[in-house]
């Protein structure tokens, strides 16, 4: 049976297993979503948005949709993937199930806990009804698929005037208890007026088996609130990730999403920002460093609807061997959005002949008093810069790595959590296969 059929036919069993109240709004949401998914199916290369990224090789696997976690996972198995030298809240999911033993949640001042709990308890009904699936893009069939099976993930609800004192780490692990597994985490993050939260998210396959993760995150940033979101994508060669993140911002808010893509077989990031109000700032930053046959596709959208807002986008990529990168950055400036400042940069370095980058900046501007720019560069390492370094006694390999490290550096500089900055710098150095002779 094809994966699509398998998913549609398993929907009923899924809802039955969860003892769903058929009158609940969540059931209605799920039902509509599976119907939409059934109609649209998985995107193919004929779809403009999926022209350079094919799901075919991944979808032919025989995925288990509801894995049993029989393997017990202890702290020692996961500690390498946590940022250990900071005090943080942690939400650890193993094969889609929340592991309370390894996690640290809270209900003091704010709710940092899990979606399954929020879906079940009357205390959170209003938040769920007001927010769940209200900004996810319903034309995105993968997001609809995730919505149809929405069950578990992070639930972060910050009231107004609250600075969350510690960053939140959300990590989804798969243990490979089955040969091929499909995981569909769903995160809902609501940040009240004047509040501030930092989130670090990653997915990690602990086995050599195949995993496909179809993740959806909805983030609501209220007036004057600030959200710093960091995505670490450094999974195994057998893991694929489709991440759809939707962000709705109200006036004077600032939302920053920083995506670091160094691993995984195929990664597709759909990142969409929607403005509802004036004086909003959206920051989109990414560094992609790939080798072998890795494939990363970053599709972004900033929808400027109101005046006096800004967006700053900078995605850098380094592609070695036969890796492939795709960048499609869409900026829409609607007619009412006067005095918009929208800046977009996509810079790539191709190290080997077999590597490729498909870059498409897309600006649709309907207002006339705006400042919008887009820049795209694709090149190779500067030979004269390499010679300069070699002439100071720095061997070619190290010189290349130093230049590549310097290339991505301005995105790394934007990381506000020092321990995360160090981790990312180390991951970059490791990926570039070199010991940088100085402290980072």
């Amino acid at each position: 049976m094809e994966l699509k059929e398998k998913l549609v036919s398993s929907f009923l069993a899924f809802e039955n297993k969860g003892n769903i109240d058929l009158d609940s709004p969540v059931h209605a949401i799920r039902l509509k979503a599976i119907q939409n998914f059934e109609k649209e199916g998985f995107p193919t290369k004929k779809d403009e948005e999926w022209k350079y990224t094919s799901l075919k090789p991944i979808l032919k696997e025989d995925f288990i949709l509801f894995p049993n976690t029989e393997k017990s996972v202890g702290y020692k198995n996961i500690k390498d993937y946590l940022i250990n030298d900071i005090d943080s809240y942690t939400l650890i999911f193993i094969d889609g199930e929340f592991n309370s033993f390894l996690s640290e949640t809270t209900h003091d001042e704010c709710d940092i806990c899990v979606l399954s709990s929020a879906l079940a308890r009357p205390k959170y009904k209003m938040v769920i009804d007001n927010y769940l699936n209200t900004i996810a893009n319903k034309k995105n069939s993968l997001s609809e698929l995730n919505t149809a099976f929405v069950k578990e993930g992070a639930f972060i609800n910050i009231p107004k005037n609250t600075i969350v004192p510690k960053p939140i780490q959300i990590i989804n692990f798969s243990t490979g208890s089955e040969k091929e597994v499909l995981l569909q985490p769903r995160n809902l993050i609501v940040v009240g007026e004047n509040s501030y939260v930092q989130v670090i998210e990653r997915h990690q396959n602990l086995s050599k088996n195949t995993t496909l993760t179809n993740s959806v995150t909805e983030i609501f940033v209220n007036k004057r609130a600030i959200v710093d979101y960091y995505k670490i994508q450094n999974d195994t060669d057998e893991s694929s990730l489709i991440d759809s993140t939707f962000i709705s911002q109200k006036q004077q808010s600032v939302a920053s999403v920083n995506t670091f893509s160094f691993g995984g077989k195929m990664t597709r990031n759909n990142l969409e920002f929607y403005h509802e109000g004036e004086h909003i700032t959206s920051n989109l930053n990414g560094i992609t460093i790939l080798n072998n046959k890795q494939h990363v596709d970053n599709h972004t959208l900033v929808d400027h609807k109101s005046p006096n807002c800004e967006s700053h986008e900078s995605y850098k990529g380094i592609y070695a061997d036969k890796s492939v990168g795709v960048f499609n950055g869409k900026v829409i400036v609607r007619q009412a959005a006067q005095k918009t400042n929208a800046f977009q940069q996509n810079n790539s370095i191709l190290i080997d002949d077999g590597a490729a980058i498909n870059s498409k900046p897309q600006l649709e501007i309907f207002a006339d008093d705006v400042k919008c720019s887009h820049g795209c560069t694709i090149g190779q390492l500067d030979e004269s810069a390499l010679f300069y370094m070699q002439s100071r006694g720095i061997p070619k390999q190290e010189a290349k790595a130093l230049l590549l490290y310097a290339f991505g550096n301005d995105v790394v500089e934007k990381i506000k959590i020092p321990q995360l900055k160090t981790l990312i710098s180390k991951l970059i150095a490791k990926k570039l296969n070199v010991q940088l002779g100085f402290d980072l």
Partner: protein, 245 residues
């Protein structure tokens, strides 16, 4: 120390150097002058090991060792230093981190341990003071946003840190005003001694008022057509390069 014998070199099939002979002994300062396109920078680049040039005949020997098969970094480890006419910007790598990496690579190549942090810092401060370089400058990204003078001063700072045997200064005076020139020249003069040597590549005689050469050579159309003492520079200034044809 340096012996260049009958050096012929091409780039992209075009012959630039057509038989250069040059001998530089320890403690000496040599200047090479010549019109644009004569091959001055090419000669400097070839001694430093730039791979784009093809040596078709002849040799470059440093302290008895033929440099022919040595990569640029190896030549640097053996004591060659090239101060660039157009120093490269490397955003994201600070002046300090860059020079630390260079020094430790040289030590590693020569079988020494890395310089301990305290000593490294002391050395950096000492040389920065020697060249009247502001400490703030050291934590900036290498050459990023530097003025022409600052870039050249940074080249000499690197030279001071690496203590080369043979320092080749390629048009170090170009783009400098008289004050910047004086600081750079003072730095070079403080660094030269009887064990090392300096090869100055320049268009203009002006630099040679501050760094006094022992020998002046004129490079014209890929060959050294005349050699002499420092007076030769004044003659060229007066008569121009046409005089040599």
């Amino acid at each position: 120390m340096l012996e260049v014998k009958n050096l012929h070199a091409n780039i992209n099939g075009k012959e630039i150097l057509k038989g250069i002979n040059l001998e530089i002994k320890a403690g000496e300062v040599h200047a090479i002058m010549g019109p644009n396109g004569s091959g001055k920078s090419t000669l400097a680049s070839i001694i430093a090991g730039k791979e784009e040039f093809e040596v078709t005949e002849g040799s470059v020997v440093l302290n008895g060792e033929d440099l022919a098969d040595f990569a640029p970094e190896k030549r640097a480890h053996k004591g060659v230093f090239l101060s660039f006419q157009y120093p490269i910007e490397i955003p994201g790598v600070t002046v300090t981190n860059f020079i630390k990496t260079a020094i430790n690579e040289k030590r590693k190549a020569n079988g020494l341990e890395e310089l301990p942090a305290k000593e490294m810092l002391h050395l950096i401060r000492e040389k920065a003071d020697l060249l009247e370089i502001d400490r703030k400058f050291l934590s900036r990204s290498l050459n990023e946003g530097f003025s022409g003078g600052e870039k050249k001063r940074n080249e000499i700072f690197q030279m001071a840190m690496l203590e080369p045997q043979l320092a080749i200064l390629d048009e170090t005076d170009s783009g400098l005003d008289i004050d910047a020139l004086k600081v750079v020249a003072t730095g070079v003069n403080k660094l030269k001694n009887e064990k090392n040597a300096v090869l100055l590549i320049t268009h203009y005689q002006r630099l040679l008022d501050y760094i006094i050469p022992d020998f002046v050579h004129v490079l014209y159309n890929g060959k050294i057509v005349k050699s002499g003492g420092k007076e030769l520079a004044y003659e060229l200034e007066e008569k121009g390069y046409d005089w040599l044809k």
